[in-house]
């Protein structure tokens, strides 16, 4: 579905945008939430990321030119939001003064590393492979759409998906994905 630009007055434009936001939230909220969770491995951060994604989308509705699908556009925003959030979380770890007593405990947010379930296996993938596999398999986006969303070529996307599949097979056991 294309985003319609209302040529009318500001009020009707705002109403139109609000209606679009409502529809986008209804359509994508849950899948975005799960994607962000797999990306950030933290429920609260994922909630924040979803809200931030829709907020950014709403603010940028007027700039959407329809060069790609609405879903691709939204995913591009979500990926960037997650990257930013992951980055800021990481930075909080790195640029800190270290002391003996302050050595961090292992993260307790997600304890799925020993579990062989698919979700935890995907969450263990490096970010680049995780992005590709989530957009391709979970969001059912085409190589071209993923390429648009991630800003890399389609061949790079294809390579990442293949690498991700190989990794998942290693973690989960051969034939798991096709079983």
């Amino acid at each position: 579905m294309e985003i319609v630009k209302d040529p009318g007055n500001d009020q009707s434009l705002a109403a139109n945008h609000e209606a679009l936001l409502t529809r986008m939230v209804e359509t994508y909220e849950v899948s975005l939430f799960r994607t962000c969770y797999m990306y950030l491995r933290d429920k609260e951060s994922a909630e924040d990321a979803v809200q931030e994604t829709f907020l950014k989308a709403y603010r940028a509705l007027h700039t959407f030119r329809g060069d790609c699908s609405e879903k691709t556009w939204l995913m591009r925003i979500a990926v960037n939001v997650c990257r930013d959030m992951g980055r800021s979380r990481w930075m909080r770890y790195v640029d800190r003064r270290v002391s003996l007593d302050l050595l961090p405990e292992p993260s307790q947010e997600y304890n799925g590393y020993n579990s062989l379930d698919l979700a935890s296996a995907i969450m263990q993938l490096p970010v680049k492979l995780k992005e590709a596999v989530l957009l391709y398999f979970y969001h059912d986006m085409s190589m071209r759409e993923i390429s648009d969303a991630l800003g890399v070529s389609a061949s790079v996307v294809s390579k990442r998906i293949k690498q991700a599949c190989a990794r998942l097979e290693t973690i989960l056991g051969r034939g798991y994905l096709h079983g």
């Binding site: 609000e18 936001l21 939230v25 909220e29 849950v30 939430f33 969770y37 797999m38 491995r41 429920k43 909630e47 979803v50 809200q51 829709f54 907020l55 709403y58 603010r59 992951g86 979380r89 990481w90 930075m91 909080r92 770890y93 790195v94 640029d95 800190r96 003064r97 270290v98 002391s99 003996l100 007593d101 302050l102 050595l103 961090p104 292992p106 993260s107 379930d117 698919l118 979700a119 935890s120 995907i122 490096p126 970010v127 596999v133 391709y136 398999f137 979970y138 059912d140 085409s142 190589m143 294809s158 998906i161 690498q163 599949c165 190989a166 990794r167 973690i171 994905l177 096709h178 079983g179």
Partner: protein
């Protein structure tokens, strides 16, 4: 193409089943709309000149007030409660938000305390960011007690430790004050002076040329692997006023005055900081902006300048690698080296790339721990490489290197 792979249904189903506890939030739409309608058009990026002007005006006006708060009071009454409010993950370094930072700086200025124009905290504020809680509080302490933390009094060091503990930045306050039964600071000074005179003929009373830093702190107990109050130690570190970072004499004794060690570091030895970190000229601009040691650049800048193999590690990997680097430092230099890391900055240059031939991922860790991010005159550097073989799932660690921070960067 898609049909060749086909596990998409499996993946979608399993993710949905596994993450079914993550469902829609009925209030999301309203929350977003509330945020949109409630938002004000505020440009958070205020010019430095404007901030300085505001601070100057406020500072001048409020300097006339009768009772101004001291830096210590501002930390206790404003900064620490604000930082405690943010404590979500105690092992993490937390940040003040931009608004909190603005509020704190305003409180400081209202009480006649102004940050230097070049202060990194002011820069964070003017560029619309927040800043680390611990470093913000430290900056206020620097303004209050002076920038040379080593030269702070025992009381100031102890108080600072209390504040760090209160915000969760330290687990325990290692900076002690003498208690009943302990020797006093004057007695400790006399013991140190006597030791230096008898060992090296050095006169501690000639304080005009020398900088004397006194510490009374907890020490690491190897047996219990904990900080031990029973073995608290006095440390007198003496350097020249003209070169305060270069330690010349050290005297260490226990809380009852029993001497543990004395050291003299000959001044004609090559200084550790004499080896500058050099990088190609084209990076001069980056270095001028972010400092010479690339470990302390943000990963974005590392990737931009040094190449795109530099990136962010996964959080869980980072924690494991940091722990491993600590273990390596302990193994090589002993637990005291770890103890010394209190107050050090940690930087990281992390690279990750795929070795397609070997079907493996290589993760290269290069940690730097130092208090001197400019010259690396102290601290340690730890490097190692993880190789994860995707055929076997095996993870190996190779090329381990642990050394003093200023070796080999250049």
């Amino acid at each position: 193409m898609k049909h060749d792979m086909q596990p998409d249904n499996v993946i979608r189903q399993e993710i949905n089943a596994g993450l079914s506890f993550l469902d829609s939030r009925p209030s999301l739409h309203n929350d977003i709309m509330r945020q949109i309608k409630g938002e004000k058009v505020v440009n958070k990026k205020v010019s430095l000149a404007l901030v300085l002007t505001i601070i100057l005006v406020l500072g001048t006006l409020t300097a006339l007030a009768v009772e101004l708060l001291t830096g210590m009071q501002i930390v206790e009454q404003f900064a620490v409660p604000m930082a405690q409010k943010n404590d979500s993950e105690p092992y993490m370094q937390e940040s003040f938000t931009h608004d909190e930072l603005a509020q704190l700086i305003q409180t400081l200025s209202e009480n006649g305390i102004t940050l230097d124009e070049g202060s990194i905290i002011l820069k964070a504020l003017t560029s619309g960011h927040g800043y680390w809680e611990k470093d913000t509080i430290r900056a206020i302490c620097d303004l209050t007690f002076g920038p040379d933390q080593g030269a702070w009094t025992l009381e100031q060091k102890h108080w600072y430790g209390e504040m760090m503990t209160a915000i969760g930045a330290w687990n325990i306050n290692i900076n002690l004050l003498p208690e009943e039964g302990d020797i006093s600071q004057d007695e400790a000074h006399n013991i140190a002076a006597s030791a230096l005179m008898s060992e090296y003929g050095f006169d501690l009373s000639d304080s005009s040329a020398w900088r004397v830093c006194v510490g009374f702190s907890l020490v690491w107990d190897e047996e219990t692997q904990r900080m031990s109050a029973d073995d608290a130690q006095w440390n007198f570190n003496i350097s020249r006023q003209t070169n305060p970072d270069r330690l010349v004499y050290n005297v260490c004794f226990d809380r009852f005055g029993k001497r543990i060690s004395t050291f003299y570091y000959p001044e004609d030895e090559v200084e550790m900081n004499s080896q500058p970190v050099s990088l190609p000229d084209k990076e001069a601009e980056t270095i001028a902006h972010y400092g010479r040691v690339y470990h302390f650049w943000t990963p974005d800048v590392q990737a931009d300048v040094l190449g795109n193999t530099y990136c962010f590690p996964e959080q869980a990997d980072y924690i494991r690698a940091l722990q491993m680097s600590m273990d390596l430092i302990t193994e090589r230099y002993g637990p005291r080296a770890l103890l010394a890391l209190e107050g050090y900055y940690s930087g990281l240059a992390y690279q990750e790339f795929e070795d397609t031939e070997a079907n493996a991922t290589q993760k290269i860790w290069d940690f730097m721990f130092t208090t001197d991010r400019e010259y690396l005159s102290d601290g340690y550097r730890v490097q190692f490489r993880w190789i994860i073989n995707h055929n076997t799932g095996e993870e190996t660690v190779v090329d381990v290197c642990v050394e003093h921070a200023n070796m080999g960067v250049g």
